[in-house]
């Protein structure tokens, strides 16, 4: 039993190391003087971090950070807001066409995200919204997964009796939503919020085709672009990559439990 335990831990540790290794290499390489990178195997950190940091900050890297951040926050608010009210309607009301409409939403979850991309970009051009962040934020308005997730959650964890009694006490329907239902939804809101934030923060293709001004770039675009800005300064570019990945790791450390519960919760029951 003890030997078995030892080998299990050893095996898992090796797997963990293999998975964390690329991150480690990325962090370490960012602390080197570019020319030294190729002289030996960069295994231990070197002392060139601050210089590389200065180089990065001279580019519009902080700007990319800010763009990504506020786009992701607005995207998340829009996604969670619309998904919550739509989910509330589907979970707690009876109305004509309800099942057909909900089935329609579930069906659209099967449609791949890139199918309408070309016309979406054209549409944004017609609205004169290309080279703004609007196309990235508006995309959060109809998140089929979000509605599905919220409907399931509201159905199972918001007691109908509480809604009924609030109604008898004379509360309006929007009042019920904001004062009674939303407080129940906090766990679901934080999960869906994290997933949405992550999706927006990691997005690459949509910003790539709607934005071509460097000062409007979001972080993934900024990172991808670093190699052309610092063609010769290899390690500075890698430091940029590290800094771009760092917020995700921090977000993940704090939110992983919520996120994981949310990712698995909906599917596993089915």
């Amino acid at each position: 039993m003890r030997a078995k335990k030892f080998f299990t831990v050893l095996l898992l540790s090796l797997i963990a190391i293999a998975f964390l290794f690329p991150f480690y290499m990325m962090i370490v390489m960012g602390t080197y003087y570019s020319e030294d990178l190729f002289k030996q195997l960069p295994i231990l950190p070197s002392g060139y971090l601050l210089e590389n940091l200065k180089t990065i900050m001279s580019a519009s890297f902080l700007r990319n950070y800010w763009n990504s951040f506020y786009v992701a926050v607005l995207f998340t608010l829009v996604t969670v807001g619309v998904a919550s009210i739509t989910g509330f309607a589907f979970a707690k009301y009876e109305f004509k066409g309800k099942n057909a409409l909900y089935g329609f939403i579930l069906l659209t979850m099967m449609i791949p995200g890139h199918l309408g991309l070309i016309a979406y970009v054209m549409e944004m051009k017609w609205f004169h919204l290309n080279n703004t962040h609007a196309p990235l934020i508006l995309a959060g308005l109809n998140n089929a997964f979000g509605v599905f997730f919220m409907t399931q959650f509201i159905r199972s964890s918001v007691p109908t009796e509480v809604i009924e009694s609030a109604r008898i006490d004379g509360s309006s329907e929007p009042g019920i939503l904001t004062r009674i239902v939303i407080p129940f939804l906090m766990p679901a809101i934080s999960t869906l919020g994290l997933i949405s934030f992550l999706g927006s923060w990691n997005g690459y293709l949509l910003p790539l085709v709607t934005i071509n001004k460097p000062e409007l770039y979001t972080l993934p675009l900024g990172i991808a672009n670093l190699s052309t800005v610092f063609r010769t300064n290899y390690s500075a570019s890698i430091l940029g990559l590290t800094l771009g990945t760092l917020p995700l790791i921090i977000l993940f450390l704090f939110g992983s439990k919520t996120l994981v519960r949310g990712l698995t919760g909906g599917a596993v029951k089915g």
Partner: protein, 310 residues
Amino acid sequence: MMQKSNGISSKNKWPYLFITPYFLSYAVLSLFPILFTLYISLTDWDLYGNRNFIGLGNYTQLFFHDAFFWKSLLNVIIFMAVYLPALVLMGMLVASLIESKLIRRKTFFRLSVFSAYMTTPVAVGIIFSLLFDWQGGFFNNMLMELGLIQEKINWLGSVSSSRWVVILMVFWKNLGYFVMFYTAGMASIDTSIYEAAVIDGASSKDVFTRITIPLLKPINLFLIITSIISGLQLVEEPMLLFSGWSSGSSMVGGPDGSTFTPIWYMFDASFNGSAFKYGKGAAIAYGTFLFIALFSVVGMKWINRDGEDK
């Protein structure tokens, strides 16, 4: 009486108001683009103002005369044929190791495997292009140092090795996601089933193959179907792998198009080339969608039949 009828009518109005933002924005921002892309795919629409209706011209061109389209599809199918079974097997194995009673620090192991899934696809592509770079890449340097190779290998320069790098990359990124689902699935299996099996004298291998795997079937169905849908849409990771981060010159589709993917092709045809052929790009999008639908149906059928046999 007045009060009551008021209550009912307001109750009837509100659900429609609540779902309006969703369906309105869906119509404008999703449904319209999807249908309009279908229309574009039937035209020769490009940047220079051509927009003639040419019927199925783009599709016949794509399906019968375009080796690149088939190649890109074949590539993603090859990738999936290798990494999907690996993800399913390793995912179950790692999850059952983490969930076994022998392990205490479950969270640490879960997080370390899952961290790759959180990372921006852009960063994943770039990290791997750095690790497998010909001249300065860590992987070559390490193999040289260990004396395993005499000359540096150009991993991203040949057809088969660059495909392996993409497969490894997708595997690395997604294993944590699979492990998470299997973990949750294993946690939801009633422990009394296991206890009964152990009392009946089942070995841990029997328990795994006869109890755990069959009970994970709904999760497998979900993971495989969603992986097929997203696998056929693979684009950012291979694109950034060959974006020229380390080599300096970017390469569309990798060496000899060996890592070209359908959505990469769509992007290249409609936004990147010199021609901006929206019609062609739209046809690629719909052509790919056709295959996604086909593979999902076949996948579902296959998994269900597999279940009935047992």
